[in-house]
Symmetry: C2
Subunit: 314 residues, 2 copies
């Protein structure tokens, strides 16, 4: 063949599909649909997608939606598919693109939300533990200060929403036999000094489920299903841009090849042997007993309106 894939097939087809949009299509919808059609058709032409491969793809996506339907939304396999293809991580990068004049001074990086956040996490008092149930993990004392990117002053009243998997690698709603609702979840509010403190587990690396479409894809790609150990955080305040992120112990072996591509350098942290606990706090009395590790993590929030997220001009 001496002519390229672009010319081999009907060169007007994709534009014809896009041009069927009627006049009442919103400009954003038309932009999304046009870009999606160019990407989808370009993909099919680039690889000469066969009918058998296309039908396998239809079945793959159907099976992915089926898992969601059959679990009443608890297992969001389509969300997971977004994660193992890097899409959620990329969307997170796009959403958090902030320009500042000083490239060395940035808000805390964002990382993907993932499929395990719950809107129902309970409010807990500062210094309380999120550990409700038996575990085989390392009880840790986590604390820090949340500061303003522009003034560097502490911010009181910040909502610090925390969730993590247990030492068996499962979140509460994946593991009803061993965990009560909201085990290892909790929302805290920073005090007048912009500080938060709580007891939690040093996180444990875990595998994505080894069944279902995402696992089939990982196997076909000869990839491992491991996420590095991590803690999820969603940090919000009316006057600041929210930060949804994850933190990772620095000695985790999966940092470089995280199966959902969510690790960033400034999110790698160090759990150290515990030294002292503020006199105002009682020792951890939940499952697992006294804390033996400590993590100090300060967070920097950008005020709303600061920086410019470059948006297409619609």
């Amino acid at each position: 063949m001496s002519f390229s894939a672009e010319h081999k097939y009907d060169p007007n087809f994709t534009q014809h599909v896009i041009d069927t949009c009627g006049p009442k299509t919103s400009p954003r919808m038309k932009q999304i649909f046009g870009a999606a059609m160019r990407a989808l058709h370009g993909f099919a032409r680039e690889i000469d997608l066969t009918p058998e491969e296309w039908l396998a793809g239809v079945k793959f996506f159907n099976e992915t939606g089926k898992l969601w339907a059959e679990s009443d939304g608890k297992r969001n396999e389509m969300h997971r598919l977004s994660d193992i293809t890097g899409l959620e991580s990329l969307v997170t990068e796009i959403a958090n693109f902030v320009q500042t004049d000083n490239p060395n001074y940035s808000p805390t990086s964002a990382a993907i939300l993932g499929p395990f956040w719950s809107p129902n996490a309970p409010w807990r008092q500062l210094g309380e533990s999120v550990i409700q149930d038996k575990h085989e993990g390392i009880v840790s004392y986590m604390h820090g200060t949340i500061r303003d990117l522009s003034t560097q002053k502490p911010i009181p009243g910040v909502v610090f929403d925390f969730w993590q998997a247990s030492s068996n690698g499962k979140y509460d709603f994946q593991d009803p036999d061993n965990q009560s609702d909201n085990n290892l979840r909790g929302k805290f509010k920073t005090d007048e000094n912009g500080e938060y403190r709580l007891y939690c587990l040093r996180p444990t690396a875990y595998s994505l489920p080894q069944d279902g479409p995402s696992w089939q894809l990982l196997q076909a790609l000869d990839r491992h299903p491991m996420r590095p150990a991590h803690i999820h955080l969603m940090i919000t305040h009316d006057e600041y841009k929210p930060v949804i992120t994850q933190i990772y112990p620095k000695d985790d072996p999966w940092l470089a090849t995280d199966t959902v591509f969510a690790v960033k350098d400034d999110l790698v942290v160090d759990f150290v042997p515990i030294k002292d606990i503020p006199a105002s706090m009682s020792e951890h009395k939940g499952p697992g007993g006294a804390a033996t590790k400590e993590l100090q993590l300060d967070i920097i929030l950008a005020p709303k309106g600061m920086g410019a997220h470059s948006k297409p001009n619609l």
Copy 2:
């Protein structure tokens, strides 16, 4: 912004995702995954896909798979989504790309399979009717000769698999209250003269279902949901390349804007007032009485091995 979208975001991210493929990935799988990731990530960067839009997309695809799961596979909404985005039509074009020295001499064009083919269509005798149930359509006599592309000789023993919607725009398994199994479906075999003949309905234009994710998308794009009237055919013989196609009456108002983009010029046909019926055949005695229209449709099949479908060199 003085720099392009390509440089605004991490330029190494997509290649990093592709490079996680292990050494045991098949070459074809690696090619498909690489092209898919470049298309998917390029799409997200081009339009600055927002988290809300991405989550709406996850939900959209989940709902699409849910319809398939809840209908036990009878409603293949993901397949329909492929159709209204032109993907199945494009895959059909790619699969049927045949090079011949004479551009004026081509096999009958292919068109999409669609979600309504059944593997269980009954064998029927030449001259029989596919009309089992009451209808408000026009009974038609359809006949023709199937020929070899290279020799132009008639081909005996070709399987002529026929299916169509009834006059209410529904296929048998969408319409169990009005239609019996295999109404308007049938497999015929050409005789020693390469001829087929049967009674059917002049087809009726219909709307895709006006519920579910595909309908939501069509509404968001301000598009109509109409398919032009058509008959589906799957024509197969061991020694020839199969032809899966559709034919369309020439006076249909939806030919130019078929919602699944399946119309091609050589597939537009003319139903004419009936003139005569071969003396060997009795008149149509099924629902609807005597035939009043006639369609002659000859088909041309390419021998296997003829023409070269350009494939990537793997």
